[in-house]
Amino acid sequence: MTEKITYVKSTSEFDELLAKEKLVLVDFWATWCAPCRMIAPVIEQLADKYDGKVAVAKVDVDQNQELSIRYGIQSIPTVILFNDGKVESKEIGVKPLASFTKMLDKHTA
């Protein structure tokens, strides 16, 4: 497990992160969600690859229901890229590494 991922524990912690970092990639997941376990290693790879360029965070939807309601999470995993605190783009469901790198390269290149 990489230490480059922030495990969000509260709404205020999340809001601070969005205010501090320009680009934030957030993985909305839950412990009981099998597809979330599938993309977990992908998210870790992204955290390594974009270290210093994109902040990577994970939000457990059961522990942060306020956030999942705020962003209308209907299915998990949902991965959202925030740019200046706003939703820039979104990937729903199990996606390969390439779909995320495509999404991130647009903003980091």
Partner: protein, 283 residues
């Protein structure tokens, strides 16, 4: 991790499994529905076997596979994720890993209804155990299109989802008594960004989610970016799809939808997959 995961246990899938085993590869094979061959009254064009019923042949194939210690596992594959050197496979909530994948689910009979793909992940779900928890204390419609639908409806109700079961069959006595039941078929999913309602004939039922529990998930929904032509998966001479390490064999690759072709394609796919695994080991 196993060497090869085969999805679908008809003639193509069983042939692939048998041939992977003979090449010394470890195999898991999954099936979620009855094979069409079993329903063929008579097959006369499979060399060496004539005047036989589809069921007799299918029984022979299963016997062959079992004799080689291949156990067909019951389970619907929900999605497949390429991980570079391997693949992760979600079998209705259980995660398995393999170096190569062979798709042999047969002809895709999945007919999408209006609104379905647009709202997939926005209230439309193919897997109750995957997304069910998100709809606790909310309304969900379960559309009965497979043998497991009833069980999954009961599961959803059990975790606190307010379930309405829609089925063309009469209400089963095994359905949880708290579940509402509607006799009918879904014709449309309504909603712009999220599911708002479903249409059942002329009736509109408001709901937060709709679980479409078919026997199989459409191949293109199974794995991202899979190239198809019409209803069939595109393959090369070695039965490999546009995604390296993912093969397709049998009716799923197109016409002729015949037994002998399915068996042959299963063999080609398995042998090529086995060869690629051996090559990787050497390097």
């Amino acid at each position: 991790m196993v060497d090869i995961i085969v999805i679908g246990a008809g003639p193509a899938g069983l042939s692939a499994a048998v041939n992977a085993m003979t090449r010394g590869k470890t195999v898991r094979i999954f099936s979620s529905k009855e094979n069409y061959l079993s329903k063929a009254e008579r097959v006369d064009n499979h060399l060496g076997f004539y005047k036989m019923s589809g069921k007799e042949l299918m029984d022979k194939f299963k016997e062959h596979a079992e004799a080689m210690n291949i156990k067909v596992e019951d389970g619907k594959v929900v999605n497949i994720l390429p991980m570079g050197e391997s693949f992760m496979v979600n079998i209705n909530g259980e995660i398995a890993e393999a170096k190569k994948i062979i798709l042999s689910m047969g002809v895709s009979k999945v007919k999408e209804i209006p609104g379905e793909s647009k709202l997939l992940g926005m209230g439309v779900s193919y897997c109750a155990t995957c997304d069910g928890m998100l709809y606790r204390n909310k309304n969900a419609v379960v559309w009965d299109q497979s043998n497991e639908a009833l069980e999954e409806a009961n599961f959803l109700q059990g975790i606190g989802v307010n379930v309405t079961f829609v089925s063309k069959n009469p209400r089963s006595e095994h359905l949880n008594k708290d579940i509402k039941y509607i006799n009918g078929t879904l014709t449309e999913v309504i909603g712009d960004d999220v599911v708002k309602a479903v249409k059942i004939g002329d009736d509109v039922i408001e709901t937060d989610a709709v679980f479409m529990l078919r026997d199989a998930v459409a191949p293109t929904a199974l794995i991202d970016g899979l190239k198809t032509e019409g209803n069939f998966i595109s393959v090369d001479r070695y039965m490999e799809t546009n995604i390296e390490g993912v093969y397709a064999a049998g009716d799923i690759t197109g016409k002729p939808l015949q037994l002998s072709k399915a068996v042959s394609e299963g063999l080609i796919a398995a042998q090529h997959a086995a060869l690629q695994i051996d090559k990787t080991k050497e390097n």
